[in-house]
């Protein structure tokens, strides 16, 4: 630590303590205002609950943290493995990324019950769901990082007659390190989320189990206390990885967690054909993987459905029309809540980022808070929002909006900072007003970050809506999956998984297409050449 940093420590600690005290006072006042409404437990009663039940919560926390840590390890190793495959076989990039996306889009709340049946009792589902929650958000930045080094560095390696291995050892690993760390930072709270969702599916221990019990018993103190513990652990994990990273790679750039899209190039028919071939290849691989896993482990067909079972259930069975109707009803119920929530969160996040760009004095304070809140798992905030806003559409839409708001805000603030300083200086030189600076320089620079958040928020929004429907509303695909899991209607459960995964992948692709069209029109320099 530098002498300057040592000198600044007391002031920093003072600011943090003052902020915490301010939040506690606000929280207490809010709790007094709504006292008796089963919405909000104040800090005093929450603290009291934590003290009285410290042993119970500590044991649950240890279990959840262990599962999350194993999932974090497995998921990130998978991400590194996938990224290395793409590095070794660059032609596989689009296909591997597409298959990885579809797997990432599998709804945790539905795969959880299936995994529970497959694994039986024990931590298997929790660890698997934690791994599934993290691998994609590490894989994508790592893909960028492994290709991020300037060409001259590789020229230097080649100049001495050295090959790909030397380039990997001497250049790529270290060049990719900041990107890997950015992915790991996002992964740490995501692993915690995955482990908690896994615990919803019939585990006997862990914070997820305590959350379900508290919610069902309308135990407001317990719900808030568990949320507070889970949120704190996630934030600590986020900051701990950042702290470690600062010591490994001292000058980390701000990383956008997405690849820069390729430009729209070639005739429309050719582009459509390419997309069709990629879509078909992805479908074939995913279906083949699905079938292979089921057959390789000789899983019982009663609960481990194969692709042909789902085809029969939805297309060729006598009651196929009724099955499709049930799915359609649930899907539309989900769609009408997820779309407004997704758009509201996204645009409110971007809007606040733009506002902060006009009032930069506030941005310095908001960004750390937003980054911290971004790392709070939705399974901890969802019950609180349900308590506060009820089990109707408003609560669900709010949960989805919260899920997309913080990633959008953080990404847009970082994106706005990508505007070239000299261009801004030039505008200031001509006394251009801040709105014009925003319009001509900062918004075009922000767009890739905005769309990166928009793409990654699609599966996140679907996770949020299904969690809300499962925990609270009793409508939509989330509720359908919870119901089918409890009634062992595995055909309908697997059909719902397929619908959600395909829907999320389609939404992701749609946002990617809009991104390419918008960037081609307003900021073509942001497209990959």
């Amino acid at each position: 630590m530098t002498a300057l940093a040592r000198e600044q420590w007391p002031a920093t600690i003072g600011r943090v303590l003052a902020s915490v005290a301010f939040v506690l006072v606000l929280w207490h006042l809010a709790a007094l205002t709504v006292a008796g409404s089963y919405m909000l437990a104040g800090p005093v009663v929450v603290a009291q609950y934590l003290v009285e039940n410290s042993s119970l919560i500590w044991r649950a926390l240890v279990v959840t943290a262990q599962n999350a840590a194993w999932g974090f390890l497995a998921g990130n190793l998978a991400a590194i493995g996938l990224a290395l495959i793409v590095l070794m076989i660059p032609q596989s990039r689009m296909l591997v990324a597409s298959v990885a996306l579809v797997v990432f889009c599998l709804p945790l709340v539905a795969t959880g019950p299936v995994l529970r049946v497959l694994y039986g009792p024990g931590p298997g589902p929790q660890i698997t769901l934690a791994a599934l929650s993290v691998y994609y958000t590490t894989f994508i930045p790592l893909l960028v990082g492994l290709r991020a080094a300037p060409g001259n560095w590789f020229d230097m390696i080649r100049l001495y007659g050295r090959g790909a291995w030397s380039a990997f050892v001497h250049v790529r690993i270290m060049a990719a390190m900041p990107y890997l760390i950015a992915g790991l930072q996002v992964a740490a709270p995501a692993a915690f989320l995955g482990a908690m969702v896994g615990e919803f599916t019939g585990a006997d221990r862990g914070l997820g189990v305590l959350t379900l019990r508290a919610l069902r018993a309308l135990n407001v103190e317990a719900t808030w206390a568990i949320a507070l513990v889970a949120a704190s652990v996630s934030m600590v994990a986020y900051w701990a990885i950042g702290w470690l990273a600062d010591r490994i790679t001292p000058s980390r750039p701000e990383i956008l967690l997405a690849t820069t899209p390729a430009p729209v190039r070639g005739p429309m028919a050719q582009r459509a054909l390419r997309a069709l071939v990629l879509g078909l290849a992805t479908t074939v691989i995913v279906v083949a993987l699905w079938w292979l896993v089921m057959e390789a482990f000789s899983l019982n067909r009663f609960f481990a459905k194969r692709p042909d079972d789902i085809w029969h259930y939805l297309v060729t069975a006598p009651n196929a029309t009724a099955h499709r109707a049930a799915l359609w009803t649930a899907s539309t119920a989900t769609l009408v809540q997820v779309v407004p929530g997704y758009l509201a969160g996204l645009f409110l996040g971007a809007g606040l980022a733009l506002l902060l760009a006009l009032l930069p004095i506030l941005a310095g304070g908001v960004l750390p808070v937003a980054i911290a809140l971004r790392s709070v798992p939705i399974v901890t905030t969802a019950p609180l929002i349900v308590l506060a806003l009820g089990r109707g559409a408003v609560g669900t839409i709010t949960i989805v909006a919260v899920m997309t708001f913080f990633p959008a805000l953080v990404a847009c603030i970082q994106g706005l900072r990508q505007a070239p300083g000299q261009v801004l200086d030039l505008m200031r030189l001509y006394a251009t007003n801040p709105l014009a600076q925003l319009w001509h320089a900062q918004i075009p620079a922000m767009l890739p970050a905005f769309f990166a958040a928009a793409r990654l928020s699609v599966p996140a929004a679907i996770l949020a809506v299904t969690v809300a429907e499962w925990l609270a509303t009793g409508r939509g695909l989330g509720a359908l999956m919870a119901m089918t899991a409890s009634t062992s209607d595995y055909n309908l459960l697997w059909s719902a998984i397929v619908v959600v995964a395909v829907g999320a992948a389609f939404g992701y692709g749609l946002v990617g297409l809009i991104e390419r069209l918008v960037l081609a029109r307003v900021a073509p320099e942001q497209l990959r050449r």
Binding site: N152, D155, M156, R158
Partner: protein
């Protein structure tokens, strides 16, 4: 592995070399059919307008780009053979240092890549020769642009290369540092008999440093002037400045029309 036998540079022969990028209507012809050779141990400067293909030629000599047609030989060998022998060193327009390595780490890496034994003394000596003693453990981010460029030069020289390729290495350096580097560095490579090709925009720099100045047209690169600089002209400051001035004026007026190539060659 042992040091290279000798730093004596090879003769470089380019025969009917062309290079184009892309295909179809978007094809760009960077280098027109070009035949020229550089004598062993020669220090040649390649001068021409931006984007004319000088750097592409340099990269083809280094084996970093393959010619679209034609051949490049160095003492009868292909560039790839010399790459594997650790015979090349190259300085780019930016220093291209690895940011996570210190000054000595960056320089030592070149020896490792060139399959030479680790030699901390050679590294330390090279750091001292480029005037960076005391900065051994500094990271590139802690150095000025000129200092970083000197590290890049030290990285080139620490392997005792047979072929030194300089792609506008002083382009991003301030005038004072540039003048200093121009004075201090040439003796380092000239002493070893290295064949050296340097791309530069500065006619004055080319005339000051090189035995020979090759002048290229706009893209696709064709040779429009090829001047041998006599030793006495380089040691005589006034003659050097006059020559540089004349070349610059001739370039500005249009090389062929002025017909100055022959006149300068005669001088």
């Amino acid at each position: 592995m042992a040091e290279p036998m000798s730093a004596r540079g090879p003769e470089i022969v380019c025969e009917a070399v062309t290079k184009s990028f892309g295909d179809g209507p978007s094809m760009v012809e960077a280098v027109a059919p070009l035949s020229l050779s550089f004598a062993a141990g020669q220090m040649a400067a390649l001068v021409g307008p931006s984007g004319c293909g000088k750097s592409t030629l340099l990269r083809m000599v280094a084996g970093l780009e393959q010619p679209s047609s034609g051949t490049i030989n160095l003492d009868g060998e292909t560039p790839e053979v010399l790459q594997r022998a650790g015979a090349f060193a190259m300085a780019f327009q930016d220093a291209s240092l690895l940011p996570w390595r210190s000054v000595q780490g960056n320089i030592a890496l070149a020896r490792r890549l060139a399959r030479l034994r680790a030699d901390p003394e050679a590294v330390a000596e090279m750091i001292a020769r480029v005037g960076l003693a005391g900065f051994e453990d500094a990271r590139p981010a802690e150095l000025s642009g000129g200092m970083r460029q000197r590290v890049a030069i030290a990285r080139c020289l620490v392997t005792n290369p047979r072929v030194l390729l300089l792609d506008e290495p002083f382009g991003a350096v301030d005038e004072l540092t540039r003048a200093r580097l121009n004075t201090e560095l040439p003796p380092l490579w000239k002493a070893t008999g290295t064949t050296c090709l340097m791309v530069t925009h500065s006619v004055r720099e080319a005339v000051a440093l090189a035995d020979r100045v090759v002048i290229f047209s706009s893209r696709p690169a064709e040779i429009v002037g090829d001047i041998a600089i006599p030793e006495e002209a380089r040691s005589d400051k006034a003659a050097r400045l006059a020559l540089a001035e004349e070349v610059s004026v001739a370039l500005a007026q249009g090389w062929d029309e002025a017909g100055t190539a022959e006149r300068l060659a005669a001088q």
